[in-house]
Point group: none
Chain length 219, copies 4
DNA sequence: CATGAATGAGCATTCATTCAT
DNA sequence: TATGAATGAATGCTCATTCAT
């Protein structure tokens, strides 16, 4: 291993350390309230060091978001692949479950995704990074759209605009998750978060599904 | 009218002026970036005066949120009342439309609702105010739940947990709106925001509806 | 005296206090090294207060420079007026002496003038302020040019471009002052600063003067 | 050539490379704003390496200043030598022209000289270096003083303190150059920089010169 | 010798909140 | 009651210098 390799590796490791520290700090205090100082303290490095690895506070967030999206897409793809031969219903359920699992297992990443979606970070983030995030973000929707399109092709789902329906379903899942993230509303609904989430997917699938020919053609 | 009344009235009017100024300023710059100074300038009063009417910058937000919720509930109730005798399907569609209309006609209030939901404002807001907000917020869900319960009672919707389903539907609508608020995703979905929103409600209703007896009992 | 007047007066007084504190601090450490904190401490006020009176650190410098120039022009004009009826030679000597006196009595102001001339403060200073400074700065040269023009009109000085000669003389005086400001060079020249300064003016005047007709036409 | 010599040579070359890089960077951004990082990048070496060759950022400036002075003295001496047999008037003109040429051909060096004169770099620069700079700086004045002394000895200039007059003339030239370096004042004077500079020298020489005996003793 | 990663003091500026008038 | 001047803690970011490799 050449020394250059070692140095690059070391550099990448350090960057990861900072990112993980930032992930924790941002999750704790929210991006706006979090300070670079706090990130540095968490990473046990000097404040200036952070600026050797990142242009900006905002760039740290963006890189974290990209990382989160990578992880999410990975999980979604794994779920989709595993169910590629099954009924699209099941594939969609699997995608929904993977999404929920991600939100539950990596809640830090999840908050970050939301924070990035909400805030307006046009300045400070390089165009390339922004594009990567958009691309990766779209990939999640594409996996859902593919499952729907497959279902339509098989005549299991009523024909329609797969992308639009993917949007609807993804939005519904997201909404359900957001709803249940609020303790107050969770209390009002008086249901388990996972149950409500599953109910959402079930409801959507019921709306999506073609009445089966067998049920229709009563002699 | 006693002088005390007059004074109270004056005081209430002043408070409203500040709130409306804050509403405009918060909408323009976002809550975090908005400054109390800007609110005072907008309201054409002294900065210190604001603190005679509000404990905090956060309290201003909270009172605005309460106002926004009041307005929303008013609209939703109006929509529900107008459709109280019609098919619950139509009542739910009317609620959804009223919600969307609110988001479009009072975008300032809407941003505020989201900002409040997102931020973590535990400190600085009095418990009483927080409770009022929670109560008013729940009222929106109750209207939806009522429509669903009525539909179930009439045998039009499959029996189930009305609150849970209200949560699901409300969440789906909210998710749809949030999805289409993002230019990037709107582009990907390639659909009109209102269309997707309606499609969401339609999908949910399809999932909710009992197959009609008439359709079933084919002789 | 209306309260508004009093408030304005108070405000102006405060501004002056800050300016005088800044004058001292800038003179001590130089503009670049001086910190706003130090100015605040010197003025015995909070750091934020400074920004109620000035946009910028640079604006403080600019206002000080304007003040310095006002003072300088005042002194030069007084000197010129007092000698308006005498020989232009004497008026120019008076202007030079006034300039030197200013440099010696208000050395803080003088350093500031130099600092401003040297630094590049395009940003941060309002256009209006910049223009005022330029105008006031030119006024000093105009007084010199006027004296020269008068001397030419009287046939005492050889005819020529009064503005150019004013530039030459002013530059020479300035150079002399700058030279003697350096201890090292003062030592080398081994002359009193004031003597060298006067010698400069004398030399210039000798170069300027027309040989008097009476001395030439010896029968 | 011993290996030690080679090493010394190599070291000197390296030092020169750094100095030339610093010269460019300082000229571009000014000494205060320039960063050691930028110098290192320009010199295509590591940042730490610079500190193997120089104690300080300030020392780099000082060594550059010494180099600039060496170059200036070289040029002045060449000009003086070439005119050593001519009328002292011409020698002084030649010195002035050489000075102006230096300012125009090596503006980087010139800015550095001014920056050094202006800033207060007592700390950080070794006493020895400071002394060298003083010595070399004085050498320029000595060349002027010599020309004046020669003129006095020949009876061409009125007798007087040659050093003092050298100071006056040098200061005048310097002032003229500084005046014309300012766009605003150049505009006011409405003259070509070189013309004004020459006019300054001419004026000084006129003030210096003895009325020629032939002109006086008209019978 | 050469490197460049790491450091942390330092800076200009902002802003929610207080309080004397 | 209304005001707005005053405050100072807090923030993101820079950069000369050091030091382990």
């Amino acid at each position: 291993m050449a020394p250059i390799d070692r140095r690059d590796q070391e550099r990448a490791r350090r960057k990861q350390e900072i990112l993980q520290a930032a992930r924790a700090v941002f999750a704790e205090s929210g991006f706006e309230r979090a300070t670079v100082d706090a990130v540095a303290r968490r990473a046990e490095i000097g404040k200036g060091t952070i600026y050797l690895y990142f242009e900006n506070k905002e760039t740290i967030l963006a890189e974290l978001v990209l990382q989160a999206l990578n992880e999410l897409v990975l999980r979604l793809r794994a779920a989709a692949d595993q169910c590629s031969l099954l009924h699209p219903d099941q594939r969609l359920h699997a995608l929904a479950d993977a999404y929920l699992a991600f939100a539950q297992n990596a809640p830090d990443y999840f908050r970050l995704l939301n924070a990035y979606d909400h805030g307006s970070f046009q300045a400070g983030i390089s165009a390339g990074l922004r594009e990567q995030i958009v691309a990766e973000s779209n990939r999640t929707l594409e996996l859902v759209a593919q499952a729907i399109a497959d279902g339509m092709a098989l005549g299991l789902f009523a024909p329609g605009d797969a992308r639009q329906l993917a949007g609807v379903i993804w939005a519904a899942l997201n909404g359900a998750r957001a709803l249940m993230a609020h303790p107050v509303r969770r209390e009002w609904v008086a249901a388990d978060a996972t149950d409500l989430y599953r109910a959402t997917m079930t409801l959507c699938l019921k709306g999506l599904t073609c009445p089966t020919p067998g049920e229709r053609s009563v002699p």
